[in-house]
Amino acid sequence: MPTTMFIFLTIFLTVLLYLISRKIFLRTKNPIFNPVLLSTTIIIIIFHYTGITFEQYKPGKDIMTFLLGPATVALALPLYLNRTVLLQALFPIIFGICFGALATLTTAILLAKLSGLDALIVTSIAPKSITAPIAIEISRLTGGDPAIAVAFVVFTGTFGSIIGPSLLSFCKITTPIARGLAMGVTSHGQGTATILQEGALQGAMAGIAMAVAAIFISFIAPLYIPWLVNL
């Protein structure tokens, strides 16, 4: 069992790295410098060279993630504030989000299976386009691993944020609503931050897409993911 001082130090290190990487990200606005990717990499490198194990980090981790549940509940607030935009084109928005979310989840599982990856990885890859707090829960409910799931979520968030806007333009997807939704469905919070730079409507749509996709996939995941993985 790590000492109180040690727990305090691991928390201090995590918070410090988060604040520094957040500064770098806000200054560069480059998706590759996203705080989760940067901080996690540095922490793992430090732990690797100092011989600190994840077991020793766990008490600090539990304290730091205590507010993740309430923070996830708080996602209802931006959704509520954007409800009027949502009602403008309710059917195209909801249908588009569910279609896109289902298409990407299915493609990811089937391709991961074809690549010969283990069931644990295939299951953890499923929620990779869902916002991290809910992807973690989905991976727990379906027999995946939360840490692996977060890695895929961050990869997808970063990749989609880098390539998304230009790929959408290349495919002649120019409607602001469609661009916002596509970014939210693919790259959750990171995609929302990226497309917000194009305009407030796109940003609001991405936020809606992120929330609705998370709710929709949560409802179908416990049956659909194991079924597809074991197909």
Partner: protein, 125 residues
């Protein structure tokens, strides 16, 4: 000081909704995350005017602003899977990249064509 107390109180209210939702999910063996039920519950309470947005904004904003902080300690858990990633990392690339492209294009095209067809219908009326 007054604002700090308010913020803490509002975060407590969010935590209470989370706590109740997690309890409901466990009690009824619902196959959905407690946090998702909590989010839906809060959305309904806001829409029904039972909870006012002002009662939560102060507590919710810092949590939402720093949401990504919470993923760092969880992602550090990856260090336990180092071997898996060095051995199989290259196999992950294709499924992740292609499924992301599918998400962007599928959502974008479906929404854009639905909106355009609706506008055309509206124009002919």
């Amino acid at each position: 000081m007054h604002n700090l107390l308010k913020t803490v109180g509002q975060i407590f209210l969010l935590w209470l909704i989370y706590f109740i939702s997690t309890w409901i999910v466990e009690f009824f063996h619902l196959p959905i995350p407690g946090s998702v039920l909590g989010m839906l519950l809060l959305f309904l309470l806001l829409s029904g005017g039972i909870i006012k947005e002002e009662w939560l904004a102060l507590g919710a904003n810092p949590l939402l602003k720093h949401l990504s902080f919470f993923f760092i300690p969880i992602a550090v858990g990856l260090m336990e899977w180092g071997k898996l990633f060095t051995e199989k990392g290259h196999l992950l690339f294709l499924p992740l990249v292609i499924s992301a492209l599918v998400a962007l294009i599928a959502t974008g095209i479906v929404v854009q064509s639905l909106i355009k067809s609706r506008k055309q219908e509206g124009g002919s009326n």
